[in-house]
Symmetry: C2
Subunit: 105 residues, 2 copies
Amino acid sequence: MSDIANTPPPPYYAVIFTNLRTELDDGYGETAARMVQLAEQQPGFLGVESARDTVGITVSYWKDLDSIKQWKANVEHIEAQKLGRKKWYAAFTTRIAKVEREYSL
Amino acid sequence: MSDIANTPPPPYYAVIFTNLRTELDDGYGETAARMVQLAEQQPGFLGVESARDTVGITVSYWKDLDSIKQWKANVEHIEAQKLGRKKWYAAFTTRIAKVEREYSL
């Protein structure tokens, strides 16, 4: 799905989206890919990481809270969020977190 | 691997560990499982979520920075971290983040 995001030195923000899927596909893959493409075009977008086993975890990184707010209010994203709640996700938790420290190998 | 973590109301902390594995197994699965078991016994541990595709993402949740510091300094965990750097991970990034908001479906 994705690589390790190459983020700048902290502070910046992370949106941790953890979810359980329903069994319904119905355009899920296309919409998920489109949302990544769309997020990448947003101001303040810094990167995204994604993996799925039992749960799916997508972490997107953002310059500040305002960038996240704008992304959440994007019209096409709002439509996808509605479909997600209605069709694709059995459960999810979204957490907004301020990254304070980072270290890498 | 895991379910959606049932965390308390924010604020609390997240450790986002994103990694690429080497091709070497050599006890990786056992150590990874043992580290989850050990983390669960630590003071301040709130939950963990984990998934792997191309990248592995493990997010563990903690009461405060001090709990994270203690977990990082756990003797058995330090040993596992050394083996991780030497054998199991081709690359990783660890991010310490303060969860400010959370919402769920």
